[in-house]
């Protein structure tokens, strides 16, 4: 198992050295990049909207449940705690984990299908660097667009939290806004979240692409690769989350 892990890591690194090469044709790369932004990014907006609004609402309710018993704590502190939870952890990490499921399986299954139907071999025989041609636009699209999704998620999460607090009589809307603005530090909140979002986007794109690109066999193996892509991406995100949190917040 350990040998397999290190062999896999080696193969992943070798694949990445093939991926990050100058594209043969920039025009085709830009065309593929726009397509991937639409497929992997824009098509994920609806799930991010739904997830973020309800996530914000639930975090507010949970926080209010914990803090509202103490009359000495102002209600806007509930909003402030909600903001911290959403911006530091929930939006960048939970949304990325959900996207790892949606986008990761899409990347792995499409590349896996291209592998088993010999489309990747066809590219190689033509003299095309198939790894760079197929994977680089996907990784670039995710790295460029995931931060946009996370910013959207931040706003919607906070809006969902404020709405839920107001509708349920836990925190008035104006106090939520006050709490969100209280002791707001741009780097610790937004920038930190965006650094994580970018790192997670790279992980989702590259790990899923590796799972799909290295498929051997047929339809069953493509299914297994798709599952592996999600599992590996999620594990790598959780590990990277710990390392980045330690690196950024404690240094």
């Amino acid at each position: 198992m350990i040998t397999n892990f290190f062999e896999g890591m080696g193969a992943y690194v070798l694949l990445m050295t093939k991926v990050f090469r100058r594209p043969d044709r920039w025009r085709l790369f830009m065309r593929a990049l726009v397509q991937e932004i639409r497929l992997l990014g824009l098509d994920s907006i609806s799930i991010v909207v739904i997830l973020s609004v309800f996530m914000g609402a639930v975090v507010t309710i949970q926080t209010a449940f914990q803090l509202s018993d103490d009359p000495l704590i102002p209600t806007y502190y509930i909003a402030m705690a909600t903001r911290e939870s959403i911006t530091l952890e929930f939006s960048p990490t939970v949304v990325s984990l959900i996207l790892a499921g949606k986008v990761g399986s899409n990347i792995a299954s499409s590349l896996g299908t291209m592998r088993v139907s010999e489309q990747i071999d066809a590219l190689e025989i033509m003299g095309v660097n198939s790894a760079s041609f197929l994977i680089l636009p996907k990784v670039a699209a995710l790295v460029l667009f995931n931060p946009v999704l996370i910013i959207l998620s931040l706003f919607l999460g906070l809006w969902g939290g404020a709405m839920a607090g107001d509708l349920l009589g836990l925190v008035p809307f104006q106090e939520s806004i006050m709490g969100y603005r209280l002791e707001y530090i741009v780097f610790e909140n937004a920038i930190y979240g965006l650094i994580k979002a970018t790192a997670f986007a790279f992980i989702i794109g590259s790990v899923s692409a590796y799972s799909g690109y290295s498929v051997k066999g047929g339809a069953v193996e493509v299914g297994i690769a798709s599952t592996n892509a999600v599992v590996r991406s999620c594990l790598a995100i959780i590990l990277a989350n710990y390392l980045l949190t330690d690196l950024i917040l404690t240094s």
Binding site: S117, D121, M126, G127
Partner: protein, 252 residues
């Protein structure tokens, strides 16, 4: 011309190719036949440079494949057309886009020249009216013709076909065979076809190589196959009742 000289290839303890010498003749369809596991596919991939031979050399004209620089190998790839068993068409692209793809990647042509080349190729492989269809919307025979069109769009010197007839009905298979042979003669390509199909051997086998257990055991023309007294060839070719009757008629 492509020459294979003393090709040996093993995967661990599995010795697949055991010293093969073949000259693939320019302007002819060179067919490699043999049972499953005889080493045909490994031999084809070795000629293509996808596998490095353990011993021996592959010659493209006067150049040795193993001694080419990386840049030369890349340009050589653009002189090669390949038709895969399953077609290997890019299913996110239309028929015209599939044929145009190698031109977009490598050809130093204007957009108008590319349009004209795609139109010429589509006419040549008889795909009129299918330009905007996706591979999933056309028949297996048409998919093979698109694959052939894509393979010849760069006007290659060398054409490789891996089981081009698999999954096709006999009538369509003959059409594909004839198309491969016509294009080979018309563009003076060195064509290598890997096949199990005895109809193809008889139809287009200008030069036939029979492989068994990693060795070349026989070579000749399609008309010589029927008269061959080689026991391995007889055993392979005349397994079916139909071909036994053909042999009897041929000998009469």
């Amino acid at each position: 011309m492509i020459q294979a000289k003393g090709i040996v290839k093993s995967f661990g303890e599995n010795h697949v190719l055991k010293g093969i010498d073949v000259d693939f003749i320019q302007g002819q369809t060179n067919l490699i036949i043999g049972r499953s596991g005889s080493g045909k596919t490994v031999f084809l991939k070795t000629i293509l440079g996808l596998f490095e031979p353990d011993q021996g050399t592959i010659h493209y004209g006067d150049e040795v494949l193993g001694e080419m620089t990386k840049a030369r190998r890349k340009t050589l790839r653009q002189e090669i057309g390949m038709v895969f068993q399953g077609g290997a068409l890019f299913d996110s692209m239309t028929v015209a886009e599939n044929i145009r793809f190698p031109l977009e990647m490598f050809a130093a042509m204007t957009e108008q020249e590319k349009d004209e080349r795609v139109k010429f190729v589509m006419d040549r492989v008889r795909l009129e009216g299918a330009a905007d269809k996706f591979p999933s919307e056309i028949s297996g025979g048409m998919q093979k013709r698109v694959a052939i069109g894509r393979a010849i769009s760069m006007n290659p010197k060398y054409l490789f076909c891996d089981e081009p007839n698999s999954g096709l009905d006999p009538e369509t298979a003959i059409v594909i065979d004839q198309l491969i042979q016509e294009l080979t003669h018309e563009f003076n390509m060195t064509t290598i076809v890997n096949t199990h199909d005895m109809n193809s051997v008889l139809e287009i086998g200008d030069h036939v190589i029979f492989m068994k257990e990693g060795h070349k055991v026989w070579e000749g023309t399609n008309s010589e196959v029927l008269g061959s007294t080689n026991a391995d060839v007889e055993d392979y070719v005349f397994k079916s009742k139909l071909f036994k009757q053909v042999r009897q008629a041929f000998r009469k």
